[in-house]
């Protein structure tokens, strides 16, 4: 009653080459633990992270952990639908996974856009930074430049194992999404994304929060 909470549901993709640690990052972020023993992801796995963003805002992140094998590329169109943000993950110990980042970014941008047609916010994660690094990631200014050029919201050196920077990266992505929301909804109060994603779901529990989604 006193403070009506606004609630957002965001679909976030986690993509990148096979074995770069996508699942590990998600498990660390959502369940606060790390294991060497994750199974290979086949198709897609799901996770939910609830953020108490500020006293008036709850954010639910629906994380889509997508299998890394390039072969599955054709299937990902379905998975990308209605996503509002993405992480692209590469493995700092394998330069080839960094080389593939561009490909993933292009793939993402070609398959999903914001309502105004611009690319969805995407943060680059240089994972396994607790280990010996290889390639451009050793040169942060160059990485900044690279991200600017390729249209990334930003980049973070992360380690799911040592819990480095994962919260921070998520925070950066969510901030950007919120900002986009604000800009977009200056002239439009309806948010098709969230309604489509949440047709009958959580709104039941906390009644007409639907309108608050629209900010």
């Amino acid at each position: 009653m006193s403070g009506e909470k606004r609630e957002h549901l965001y679909k976030i993709l986690v993509i990148g080459e096979l074995g770069t640690g996508k699942t590990s990052i998600i498990k660390r972020y959502v369940h606060q633990f790390f294991s060497q023993h994750y199974r290979a992801t086949i198709g897609v796995d799901f996770a939910l992270k609830v953020l108490n963003w500020d006293p008036a805002t709850i954010i639910r992140l629906q994380l889509w952990d997508i299998a890394g094998q390039e072969r599955f590329g054709n299937m990902t169109r379905v998975y990308y639908k209605e996503a509002v943000g993405a992480f692209i993950v590469f493995d700092v110990t394998r330069a080839s996974t960094f080389d593939a980042v561009v490909k993933w970014k292009q793939d993402l941008d070609s398959k999903v856009q914001m309502a105004d047609g611009s690319p969805i916010p995407c943060v680059l994660l240089a994972n396994k930074c607790d280990q010996q690094k290889e390639g451009l990631v050793n040169n942060p200014p160059k990485m900044d430049e690279y991200c600017k050029e390729k249209g990334f919201t930003g980049w973070f050196e992360t380690s799911a194992k040592e819990n480095v920077n994962i919260e921070e990266a998520a925070r950066a992505l969510v901030s950007k999404i919120l900002l986009n929301d604000k800009l977009l909804h200056g002239n439009d109060t309806k948010d098709p994304t969230k309604i489509a994603l949440d047709p009958n779901g959580k709104a039941n529990g906390e009644p007409p929060n639907g309108k608050s989604c629209a900010c």
Binding site: L18, G19, Q36, H37, Y38, R39, A40, T41, I42, G43, V44, D45, F46, A47, L48, Q62, A67, G68, Q69, E70, R71, F72, N74, M75, V78, S96, A196, L197, D198, P199, N200, G201, K202
Partner: protein, 622 residues
């Protein structure tokens, strides 16, 4: 007498010196025991009393256990008993202890390992020694086929037990309430053995090591362990202390009230433990029943079915037996026959492919940037080989046998590499590692490859592993239609919550449920999948949805999707199969024909798919 002294040495290993309160509490756990304790407690000093009580602290469970005199129960165990006696003599002469000081000495001296061994002397040592023996051999000597088989059957047999241990139902407390150190305990030993066919060479080796080798003695010791059910002496050390003297005394009322509350709590705890013990006993009986059924089935499979496979396999009786699950020790043989070898894959072909895969791997690791390869499909194949390496250790990681350095790492690697060379047009696709692993767990390497190649050549898997979108869509559509027929409520709910079949069915089909289900249940699904063909994949999928219908109807998109990609650990095979039995699939082939033609018409990619799956093109052999 002897037993008591044995136990006393074990008590001495206990680093939590139990106080009197614990003791009296545990004495209640078993009435026959309690009288001896109370008698003693009047005349005997505390530390002596403690030594007489067969309590042992298990470092695994962090609980005190009462040890019951199992050996007495069966005269067949006399051998073990004798050896125990001799050991006891050594023990008592060396370190039979009386004072607290010495007790602590002993505690620091006794290594955990020694403790375990001495505890298992009479009943389980044969397992512990053999297991570690096998593991070592498996790890050290990979080239020895026979030993690999040994370890294989050990693991596949163990599946049941692991599941029991992992299942949430058997929480820490119940799991530990069986004799002492469970891994080496008798009950485990019995289960694993009785699930094996009697003429398996495994048994032969086991009995040569074991002092209680003959099957009869095993049976009797099983029953003895039932009679002397171990009970947790103290799981939570709840002790009512007197009020410290420096504080004002409680009022009489208060005192009485506290005492009453205390007794209620203790009583509740005991009740819970009794209940857990009852549940455990029931599970155990269930388990024994299952094992007996399996042993019986094994005999039938070995004597009546396998020798005259082609003539009897389609009989109703056999089909029924098959539905109930193939006993783990004949599973590999049956699968091999059921899958067949339509492609005529020979061991020689496999050797050639393995060699190629290894060569390829060498060039990949030597020159990572040789994109100007000689063959056109080289870069892709290289990628395949690299991906395999990344995925192997992520295949059933909980079994810890496919990791680098694990006994099955090389086999899985070779098999998948060989397939990528055998079918470069398909290469390696994620999901294959799970299929190959399941086969490897149940049969020899070469056999597994033959099965793997033939299995993947079936139309449904071929479509999925070639990522033929049109055909995949056709299968999804068939599934949705069957779901609408069989489970209209779920179908409607999933439609509303946008939970489309591709999100969960993909994983199920790629791995034939190996990833989503507990391993033992997955194997049973495989049994019938190999009997009934791809149709059974969809039938099982619907069976799963039916089994969890009520839950699923309450889930939103995300919870539902999470649930379906990782089914509960306690998924019960019998319940699942009951559920599956209710699913009607009559329209399957008609629907498939219909959707295939519509999907193909709209995309036109069909021809390339099924033609090649029919007329297989193995690699050029030079």
């Amino acid at each position: 007498m002897m037993i008591q002294s044995r136990c006393s040495t074990e008590t001495s290993c206990d680093n939590e010196k139990p106080n009197l309160q614990d003791v009296s509490e545990c004495s209640n756990a078993n009435s026959s025991f309690s009288c001896s304790v109370t008698n003693n407690s009047k005349s005997v000093p505390l530390n002596e009393l403690l030594e007489k009580i067969p309590l042992a602290y298990s470092p695994l469970t962090k609980q005190l256990h009462i040890l019951y005199p199992k050996q007495e129960a069966s005269e067949k165990v006399v051998d073990g008993f004798e050896s125990l006696k001799s050991r006891e003599n050594i023990n008592s002469s060396n370190n039979y202890l009386n004072s607290d000081e010495q007790l602590e000495d002993e505690m620091s001296n006794a290594s955990t390992q020694e403790m375990v061994v001495s505890h298992c002397e009479g009943d389980g040592s044969s397992l512990s020694s053999e297991t570690s023996h096998q593991l070592e051999e498996g790890l050290v000597d990979d080239s020895n086929k026979r030993k690999k088989k040994g370890i294989g059957s050990f693991f596949s047999r163990g599946v049941f037990l692991w599941k029991n241990r992992d299942s949430p139902a058997s929480s820490a407390a119940t799991y530990t309430s069986s004799p002492g150190w469970k891994f080496f305990s008798k009950s485990v030993f019995d289960h694993s053995l009785s699930s094996v066919c009697p003429n398996d060479e495994e048994i032969a080796t086991a009995s040569s090591v074991s002092p209680l080798g003959s099957p009869t003695s095993l049976r009797s010791s099983a029953s003895s362990s039932k009679r002397y059910e171990d009970v947790i002496a103290s799981s939570s050390a709840l002790i009512l202390h007197d009020r410290p003297a420096n504080l004002p005394a409680k009022s009489v009322d208060e005192e009485a009230k506290h005492k009453q509350e205390y007794e209620q709590m203790v009583e509740a705890a005991k009740k819970r433990e009794r209940q857990e013990a009852r549940i455990k006993k029931k599970q155990m009986q269930q388990q024994i029943k299952t094992e007996e059924r399996l042993a019986h089935a094994t005999k039938i499979w070995l004597t009546d079915i396998l020798p005259k496979w082609s003539s009897v396999m389609s009989s109703r009786k056999i089909q029924n037996l098959w539905w109930q699950g193939i006993p783990p020790c004949v599973r590999g043989k049956v699968w091999l026959l059921a899958i067949g070898n339509e492609l005529n894959v020979t061991p020689e072909l496999y050797e050639i492919c393995v060699t190629r895969a290894h060569e390829l791997l060498k060039t990949v690791s030597n020159t990572t940037s040789c994109d100007s390869g000689t063959e056109i499909d080289n870069p892709d194949r290289q990628a395949s080989v690299e991906l395999i390496q990344l995925d192997i250790s992520r295949t059933f990681p909980q079994l810890c046998i496919f990791q680098k350095g694990g006994p099955y790492y090389d086999i899985l690697h070779s098999l998948l590499g060989a397939y990528a060379c055998y079918r470069p047009d398909i290469g390696y696709v994620q999901g294959m590692s799970f299929l190959a692993a399941i086969l490897i767990l149940n049969m020899e390497e070469t056999e597994a490859f033959v099965c793997f190649a033939n299995l993947l050549n079936r139309p449904c898997h071929m479509a999925f592993f070639r990522l033929d979108q049109a055909m995949m869509q056709a299968y999804y559509s068939v599934f949705e239609q069957l779901m609408a027929d069989n489970l209209p409520k779920i179908h409607c709910h999933f439609l509303k919550s946008h939970l489309s079949p591709d999100l969960y069915l993909l994983d199920w089909i790629y791995t034939v449920f190996a990833k989503a289900m507990p391993l033992d249940v997955a194997c049973r699904v495989w049994d019938v999948f190999l009997r009934d063909g791809e149709e059974f994949l969809f039938r099982t999928a619907l069976g799963v949805l039916h089994l969890y219908q009520e839950l699923l109807l309450g889930f939103d998109f995300l919870v539902g999707a999470q649930f379906l990609t990782k089914l509960p650990e306690d998924l019960n095979a019998d319940n699942l199969f009951l559920s599956i039995q209710g699913i009607r699939m009559q329209r399957y082939s008609d629907l498939l024909t219909m959707y295939r033609s519509t999907c193909v018409a709209s995309s036109g990619s069909y021809c390339s798919t099924t033609n090649s799956s029919g007329t297989n093109t193995p690699i050029e052999l030079n």
